[in-house]
Symmetry: C2
Subunit: 304 residues, 2 copies
């Protein structure tokens, strides 16, 4: 526990801000990302204190982390308390937490039973602004009061960020590239407004726009609405993306969902998108004839 | 048939462009709007030649119009031919045509069997742009080649456009007004990008954004995602709205759908939204405690 946290970036540089202990906190949502983070952190010689969001965090984390507490997302006091008990000062957020949990009838019960939840949720309610960015700022503030600092999980596993280029054997056709450009501008605008990350496009018309339902349900909807198939999904980071939180992520399940729903192209943002299990993602996309391409924002916009 | 078409606007002025015959064409989609138009046109002493879109136009139109042909939307030659046979030069579009019809497997069959469809749909395909606006421009061009001019159905029944004000007994609360303002800006942006007319908002977060699925399915989705209810639907005209086509429309079914899905507020744009059967809409909203408010774009934006 005496080593300092010094994960290395892809370029081999030491992370800029050396924290004070050899334990890193992991606030874990669903999916493979928290698992890959835990593995990477341990390769870096760090102890991992995991607090898993109830109903989201994969059970397998309990075997990969030095500690594993499970807490509902609506009780920030208990989340903060668990991290403090485990000696955490620096922590990361990894994995998906479904925003719809905010709108369950149970929220009020948790809020009543947790004074910090009053601050986190009711501050938001008073400001009447539950955009992702506003909620995150409130959460960050609340954690900071107890000396808990959020860092980017990607400092520990930068190899998860996709490189620029066409990942698959199939390249997008010229018309598909035009759909990508159309969708890219729309998706960036949706990100700027903090609405969502993904849009489904065909023939330069928006088939579906993601809001809080998430990418998978946006894909399903596009499949239902565009029964002839052959459409394109564009998923990008916000212009104001904070790489510590809610970085755009795709994986094998994304490709399967795209195939089920008749999509032929997936366009993502190079250097700002996590591709979980990239070799498997590419192999599956190749088998299904789906083109996957990672682009830079600059090249999409300058292609006019 | 010798009278000229001179419907009157709400202010009692004669319409600016006097057409050459006493028959007006009605290209009818679904819903009550084409019915109300047909009634209004006949009150103006006009003969109505209706071409109903197959699967969309209400049967009752056959009894209200002087002629009634039913044609698939994907065969523009047959639509134009029907209007010409009936001596139409000026026509209006009224009622909903679901855009998803474009993406059926049957499209190619219709296109092969109709040379004009080749132009209308494949011009769009060549341009790779099936945004509403692009399709409409192609359709307008194609009709114009045969001397058919589109006019606004609202010239004949301007009383369907909603006046400014709170329509219901219940007024939006201050937080609801903030959601309206947030949703308004987002919906206007969606309109500018020709994506859709409606957004569902709660606590200044976008619950659902309408694309081609239409307002009803956007409302249903918001209801599923926001299970605690109490959200706001904002439905506005595009900044570039052409009042001849696809004017935002609400009716009794909209209020019922909002109620089923837990919405508490409906905000629409004054002077640019058709309210079908307004007394019934308001009575139902009052009974259900839903606030309906018609605002001017200027007042929403200037309220900062």
């Amino acid at each position: 526990m005496s080593a300092t946290i010094q994960p290395r970036s892809a370029a081999g540089r030491a992370a800029s801000e050396p924290p004070g202990s050899g334990v890193v906190g992991l606030l874990a949502g669903s999916g493979r990302f928290p698992i890959l983070f835990a593995e990477a952190a341990r390769r870096h010689g760090l102890a991992v204190a995991c607090v898993g969001i109830k109903g989201e965090a994969p059970e397998v984390l309990s075997g990969l982390c030095d500690s594993f507490d499970v807490v509902p997302v609506t009780t920030p006091s208990r989340i903060i308390g668990a991290f403090k008990r485990r000696g955490v000062r620096d922590l990361v957020m990894a994995g998906k937490v479904h925003k719809t949990v905010m709108y369950t009838p149970y929220l009020i019960w948790h809020v009543i039973s947790d004074p910090r939840a009053v601050r986190v949720w009711f501050y938001g309610a008073l400001r009447r602004n539950k955009k992702d960015d506003t909620i995150l700022l409130t959460v960050i503030d609340e954690f900071a009061k107890d000396g808990l600092r959020f860092r980017s999980a990607l400092d520990f596993c930068p190899e998860l960020l996709v490189d620029h280029g066409v990942l698959t054997r199939r390249r997008p056709t010229r018309p598909e590239l035009e759909d990508i450009r159309f969708g890219w501008e729309l998706a960036k605008e949706m990100g700027r407004l903090d609405v969502g990350q993904s849009v489904a496009v065909k023939d330069c018309a928006a088939i579906a726009v993601e809001a809080i339902e998430g990418t998978d349900r946006c894909i399903e909807r596009a499949g239902q609405l565009c029964r002839s198939g052959g459409w394109t999904l564009v998923k990008v980071a916000k212009p104001q993306q904070d790489m510590r939180f809610d970085v755009p992520t795709i994986g094998v399940a994304t490709i399967e969902k795209l195939r089920e729903s008749g999509a032929k192209v997936l366009a993502i943002e190079a250097g700002k998108t996590i591709v979980i299990d990239q070799p498997e993602v590419v192999a599956l996309a190749d088998r299904l004839g789906i083109a996957v391409v990672a682009l830079d924002a600059a090249e999409v916009v300058s292609a006019d």
